[in-house]
């Protein structure tokens, strides 16, 4: 029961990518790191499902 969706799932991906970069615009590395951490925590909370989160952690680590 694969829980993590690793298929393309975002409509208008170029726009989302641009928004992601835009929110980091003009921020220092430290500010961006903090923003990324907040973003991860908010998204993780939205997902909630521990199985999905575990699979996402594993997938992001790019390990076998």
């Amino acid at each position: 029961m694969a829980a993590l969706n690793t298929q393309a799932n975002i409509k208008a991906p170029d726009e989302f990518y641009a928004e992601l970069l835009a929110v980091h615009e003009g921020r220092t590395k430290a500010e961006s790191d903090a923003l990324n951490a907040r973003l991860i925590l908010l998204l993780a909370n939205h997902i909630g499902d521990r199985q999905v989160l575990a699979e996402a952690l594993h997938a992001a680590a790019l390990e076998e």
């Binding site: 903090a34 951490a37 907040r38 925590l41 908010l42 909370n45």
Partner: protein, 535 residues
Amino acid sequence: MSKIFEVPLYPYQRSADQDAETPVRHPVVVVGAGPVGLALAVDLAMQDVPVVVIDENDKVSRGSRAICFAKRPLEILDRLGCGDPMVEKGVVWNLGKVYFDERQVFGFNLLPEQGHKRPAFINLQQYYVEQYLVGRLRQLEAEGKPVELRGGNKVINLSQDEAGAELTISTADGPYRLHADWVVACDGAASPVRTMLGLDFTGRVFEDNFLIADVVMEAKFPTERWFWFDPPFNRGQSALLHKQPDNVWRIDFQLGWDIDRDEELKPENIDKRLKAMLGEEISYELEWSSIYTFQCRRMERFHEGRVLFAGDSAHQVSPFGARGANSGLQDTDNLAWKLKLVIDGKAPITLLKSYDAERLQGADENILNSSRSTDFITPKSEISRIFRDAVLDLSERYEATRPMVNSGRLSVPCTYDGSPLNGPDCATMPERTRPGSPMVDAPVPGGWLLDQLGTGFHLLAIDSEGTDTLRVDGIEVRCLDLSTSDDAIGHLRQRYLGNAAAAVYLVRPDQHVAARWDHYDAAAVKAALRKAIGR
């Protein structure tokens, strides 16, 4: 006026044992008269098990030390007959606040649920807890219970064989020897008994220092636990403010690793920190200060032949979460009834293995929680600090991340899931009272459920018929019949019945659930009781 920790409370007195030709044998010798050793002695004495407590000192602990006593240990102290004076003296609190930088991030309530006799926590200096326990011990002694407390008695040697242990004890009058069927080492994190037996005590060292300042001051802060992450008055570190009785305030400053202890402990330097935190105009008297580092570690097992370990001698945690003295009291709660049954020959000696199984589980839970708190409070890498700060920043605005804020996961009792003593469960009943769980208090006619249980095996029957007091292998199981018709608010139903129409709970002497059914079956109860005593 001298402080109570400066007055000898159990000064050395020569014992007849010191003049005996051959070493006198005692069923139980408890080493250490801290909260854990004293609670164990009181518990055993109440059950008529002769017990001698020895301690190299003769006073209660110097300084407040353990200050937060949690609900379950208060219930244990109630069972031991000394909960009331402690709760009356203590500062009751349920609320905590968390600050980050200059802002309040959020507040929390530890006991949002009604229908409990005891609050989530009281704050009470360890020296008061010891004083009340000594008082209770003296009261039992006066009633003729077999208990003795010997101050100025220091164990200097201990050896054991299968039948018992021999202790050599040094006193002002010179050394003497004692024999014991059982020795319980409640002699603290640096346990000399553990060292004498050459047993390991391993775990994780945290590279950090904390300064405790207990100050006496008139202050108008509410009785809440206030915790600061990275406050302006202690940049990059944490701080804690907590109220104790007698206008004593516990203030904790995280200092970091590379510090000059002697410098930090100078009153003028403590004064600078206090004024930066509380304002230039404060006036106070410094009652006690100390710098501590900490470790999270435990023994491989808490039971070595005829010697058992309880409290900090067996396991040590960081102070965040108040899991030291609280877990030590739960050790004694678990151990006393087992030792009693083994000494009386009513349970096999192997019952004591379940002390290991259950309290190792408790210790591991405490170490895990305490290590996680410490990792949150003192991030060990750049990325862990980034995430920590992100959690705090978000929590000011959103509920989402507040459950991750970890300024100490405050002590809750262990549920002994998978314990070899657990009997049958009933799936329609609430999860929180499954076998292995501590009983959850509830209002019942005439008072509180836990007060009606006392020490001993009990059958709690709710809307059930046919139950009666029974004896199994010489052990009495007293029956407590309750009815949901007396349960207007529904606490009993919610906590013990769930979807079942009736319930029968077999409750152990330490008020943990052994087994439960939705109807009474004497044969099933007998089988579960035998299992609960290790047969």
